[in-house]
Assembly symmetry: C2
Homo-oligomer: 224 residues x 2
DNA sequence: TTCGTACATCGTACGTCGTACGATGTACGA
DNA sequence: TCGTACATCGTACGACGTACGATGTACGAA
């Protein structure tokens, strides 16, 4: 009921767009985006459901803002190093962030207009590539390729029901192998068996493809 | 009301799981997956809402089945050619199919267990790579890399508000450039201007990255 | 011919959702 | 002192997924 002292930034108790969006992200991380409803979010904030609409025009706008928060968490490519190291860092950061907020990947499909953090990120990446000697066209190619890899990897990773080598080995032996008839899926059986025996860790998969892509992009630039 | 003659395959008029799922895919393609409700789907089939539950245990199961229909549409890597041509064809097919059903990308994030068509696809791809001389580990790397690229590209493409070079040029000049302050986003401005002037077609972007990736994978195999 | 049973269909109802609308209280400048 | 802008929220509406149970049809067995 009370209007509290006005501030640009969120006060510790009062609501604000920042606080609403941040709590929404926390809720989605914890319970999945399907469980995120305006009523639940309001309850988590100790407010009435309709109070949220003072800070957010609609649930769609809330989801847009949540995605932009995720982009804010991704490290920009650092300046002052070679382009490969810079792009490597930002890709690894992006993958970490998207693993923390897997729902973000699913939301991206339906959202067309990028938020401010997204734009800032694209600008920084493009700047890094252009300064490294990529032409506008080649920088565009590199951008598409790198982003596709990062997003696609995160999408696949989000669907994995295990983390780490141990869980993978357990799942492979207890779930995959028994469910895959060897005569119908001989190669998948072979893969599951060999990988589990070798202590394969899917978490290390990311850097392999990333480094391959970075190396493949190197000849496309004209060093200045 | 009437029970109609029993058949394994869907008769022309009666309901069946196949028909329900197919109509759901059509509805999602046309209106977006957010507009897909059990009631709307039933109406489109000329049935009552609850009738669908005779063929589908829940909406979740329906969504799973829809995704598997999408995987069925993707061409398997053809046998009898070199591995690069085979993987190239199936990647291009996958990208086409996912562009036709963009909602599928968004659904994948929340779904962990692959359907039968998905499994058949993975088996065929793994077989192709193994027969081309990739070790189990290298085939796994290649699989992850290629799938990440394809899915990630489709995800980004789904978010694009334009198709083809003309629409891109229009958007770049009418929307992007006016919305991006040149002092804050100099490189994005440069890119938009140069690409629009050069008649850049985002539809051709896919094969560039794909061929780069395929070439980068080539040295990883041990030809037999 | 009768009748039980399995198949297929659907109406109703419940709890939840997003949110339009308008009421209410507070703080502050005039 | 009072109007106005800010901030909060209760109520209500239509749509959602689906549990439950009723209903009708076809067909094999008696």
């Amino acid at each position: 009921m009370p209007a509290r002292e006005r501030r640009q930034v969120a006060s510790d108790a009062g609501l604000s767009k920042k606080r609403v969006v941040a709590e929404a992200v926390r809720l989605a991380d914890r319970e999945g985006v399907a469980e995120l409803s305006m009523r639940r979010l309001a309850r988590a904030l100790g407010a009435g459901a309709m109070s949220l609409y003072y800070y957010v025009a609609s649930k769609e706008e809330l989801l847009d803002a949540m995605i932009d928060v995720v982009f804010e968490e991704i490290e920009l490519p650092p300046e002052g190093t070679d382009w490969q190291s810079a792009m490597r860092r930002r890709a690894i950061s992006a993958r970490q962030v998207l693993a923390r907020h897997p729902w973000a990947i699913g939301l991206m499909e339906s959202r067309t207009s990028p938020g401010p953090a997204n734009l800032r990120h694209r600008e920084a990446v493009t700047a890094c590539l252009r300064r490294a000697g990529f032409s506008v066209l080649m920088a565009t190619h590199a951008n598409w390729l790198l982003d596709s890899y990062v997003y696609g990897f995160a999408l696949q990773e989000a669907g994995l029901p295990f983390d780490g080598a141990d869980e993978f080995a357990d799942m492979a032996e207890d779930v995959f192998l028994p469910q895959l008839p060897p005569d119908e899926f001989p190669y998948l059986n072979e893969s599951a068996a060999v990988l589990a025996a070798a202590g394969y860790d899917p978490a290390e998969e990311f850097t392999f493809g990333l480094d391959l892509v970075l190396a493949a992009l190197e000849p496309l630039r004209v060093p200045t």
